[in-house]
């Protein structure tokens, strides 16, 4: 049983699966463009009625135009599973490796090796946020308010009052057709929660959050000075969305991961620093930082390709270089110029058998 589970785990975390899934996603989404183009009305209700209801109505009865979306969800689900398995495997391996290193070897750069893993987990968090949003968002019907009118939020005594409308008009003369049109619709709201009152400013791209609900301005009137005598009104879209925080957190994590990655590239690139943040001399990698390349001088091709030592991957750089390196290491060992492929640092599990074909997920060695 354990064997089956292990096999499934390994298969689910295969990087080959990642590549295949990404290719399928590209094709599916490109096809999705064709289906979505001129059929946006089919998909617009997704934001209001939620995924489950949409699938049972619009999705189910227009399969020729919505099938790509179902396939997209399936592929994204598989990608999440794949990403989780392979990233977890890498992170565990990194942590095990670190635990077995002496304290003096635990440099700053070690933490930078988590950057790709942070990005991978962030993708899962973001996708989970979207799913949450489409499954559990509580969307109220569009509400129209005129100045002085108010509305209550469901399940509470909280009220929203539209107290004033203070639009800013387009004053620059660059766009003739925009002259005297509203540039920034600004609505002042009074938010009443029992005895507590506060005011808030609502506008386009400027929502208001109140009692867990997001209040968004959907449209407004009049659109210009005079406005053909139209009465002032604003249309509100109000929704309680538990997925927002998740996907915003996912974005923040992904950006942080990317920033870490770029920082590592800028400060540690091209073998100027070893794995533990110690400066290298003459492109020579010293100490236990270099499993399999202990104290050996890098060959020109390796210098071009930069540092190639990653305990979490146990492989020296890009596949071509690594392959070339293995041959070179054997030749150097035969000539006595370099110790033969020694056992790696104590406790370091090394790459799984099969080398590159088994390198699952995790870091990119690009720089």
């Amino acid at each position: 049983m354990m064997r089956i589970i292990t096999t499934l785990w390994n298969k689910a975390g295969s990087i080959h699966l990642t590549v295949v899934l990404c290719l399928l996603l590209t094709v599916d989404l490109a096809f999705g463009y064709i289906c979505l183009n001129r059929n946006t009305t089919l998909f617009a209700p997704l934001n209001d009625i939620g995924l489950a209801e949409w699938m049972g109505t619009y999705g189910r009865y227009n399969l020729e135009k919505t099938a790509w979306f179902f396939i997209l969800m399936l592929l994204l689900g598989l990608l999440c599973l794949n990403t989780f398995v392979c990233t977890t495997e890498r992170v565990l391996r990194l942590l095990r490796f670190r635990a077995q290193q002496p304290r003096s070897h635990r440099g700053l750069r070690f933490y930078f090796r988590f950057a790709p893993h942070v990005m991978h987990y962030a993708v899962i968090i973001m996708l989970a946020g979207y799913l949450c949003s489409y499954l559990f968002a509580h969307v109220l019907d569009t509400r129209t308010l005129i100045p002085g009118a108010s509305m209550s939020l469901p399940g509470s005594k909280a009220r929203i009052e539209f107290s004033a409308y203070e639009p800013q008009y387009y004053s620059a003369g660059r766009l003739e057709s925009f002259k005297d049109r509203v540039l920034k619709p600004v609505a002042r709201l009074r938010l009443v929660n029992g005895g507590h009152r506060e005011t808030a400013v609502l506008g386009y791209n400027r929502p208001v959050w109140f009692k867990g609900y997001g209040i968004f301005m959907k449209s407004f009137a009049p659109k210009s000075k005079g406005g053909m005598g139209m009465k002032v009104r604003i249309n509100l879209s109000i929704r309680k969305d538990p997925g927002v925080l998740l996907y915003l957190a996912g974005m923040a994590f992904f950006t942080a991961g990317m920033a870490l990655y770029v920082t590592e590239w800028i400060f540690f690139k091209k073998g100027r620093w070893d794995f533990y943040g110690k400066k290298t001399r003459n492109n020579t990698i010293h100490g236990p930082a270099a499993p399999g390349l202990h104290g050996c001088r890098l060959r020109p091709v390796e210098r071009r390709q930069g540092p190639i030592l990653y305990p979490d991957r146990g492989v020296c750089g890009p596949p071509d270089i690594a392959r070339a390196d293995r041959g070179a290491r054997r030749r150097r060992a035969r000539a006595g110029a370099c110790p033969p492929r020694r056992s790696r640092s104590p406790g370091y599990p090394g790459p799984p058998s099969g080398s590159h074909a088994r390198q699952t997920g995790g870091g990119l060695w690009l720089f």
Partner: protein, 259 residues
């Protein structure tokens, strides 16, 4: 002079720049002069349109801004861009984009109010830089393929492949980073403007994601070891087709004679 006139001028200078790249050695430096002129004209055209629509985002500026971005990246990176084919391919791409933008304009729409947001501008600018980096990456990949084909003829194919690998990879990574930032800015704009993570009114959402997954695939291909260097380089070169087909052509309008 209108933005359209400047853009037409830029197209002409891109053509001259491309033509100069085919001149005999020693006279090719004229290419940089023409490219600088094209860059100036193109930047003026884009700036004029941006200034007109400010503080909103000009609609469908992409087809005009992408050649500008490409040329700017080439000029900024001219010290590393010593390969002849690269100097031909990038002005070639820019010229192709300009001609398409001139013949199939869609820039007559008025800007819309919700584009008056910092995230909207970040979405556009990062997206343009991302697309520019992807096209430069594809140009480097094509250069590498030409170089490896040339090296093969001289019996040194491997050197050609491996040495030319790094530039396109680096550009692809930068492109991916900017593209991701653009997507995030777009998502934040969508959330603050419409209250939802995805606005289904614009089908471009799918092509943006498709491009993102394509480049994720490219970056992960290096970990599999199952594709040869040439295969990966060809895949990276295919990025040009992906960017043009999924992100450039959808922004074009119907045919219109430009003069």
């Amino acid at each position: 002079m209108t933005a359209h006139t400047f853009f037409t001028l830029a197209t002409g200078f891109y053509f001259l720049s491309l033509a100069a790249a085919f001149l005999p050695k020693g006279t090719r430096s004229a290419m940089w002069g023409f490219l600088a002129a094209a860059l100036f004209a193109n930047a003026t055209a884009a700036a004029m349109r941006y200034w007109t629509a400010w503080p909103m985002l000009p609609m469908y500026l992409g087809p005009q801004a992408l050649p500008l971005c490409l040329a700017m990246l080439l000029v900024l990176n001219r010290r590393n861009a010593r390969e002849l084919w690269l100097r031909r391919l990038i002005p070639g791409f820019a010229l192709l984009l300009c001609i398409l933008a001139l013949l199939f304009p869609k820039d007559f729409y008025l800007p819309f109010l919700k584009s008056n947001a910092a995230f909207a501008h970040a979405f556009f600018v990062f997206g343009m830089i991302g697309k520019g980096c992807f096209l430069v990456s594809a140009a480097w990949a094509l250069t590498a393929l030409f170089a490896s084909a040339g090296a093969e003829n001289t019996g040194n194919a491997r050197t050609g492949e491996v040495s030319a690998q790094r530039p396109w990879l680096r550009w692809a990574v930068w492109g991916f980073a900017f593209w991701t930032l653009s997507m995030f800015a777009g998502e934040l704009w969508t959330y603050f403007g419409w209250g939802t993570p995805v606005v289904w009114d614009d089908p471009a959402i799918t092509t943006t994601m498709a491009t993102w997954f394509f480049y994720i695939c490219l970056l992960h291909l290096h970990l599999t070891g199952s594709w040869s260097a040439r295969g990966r380089t060809a895949f990276a070169a295919g990025g040009a087709v992906v960017v043009l087909a999924l992100n450039f052509i959808p922004e074009l309008g119907p045919f219109r004679w430009p003069f």
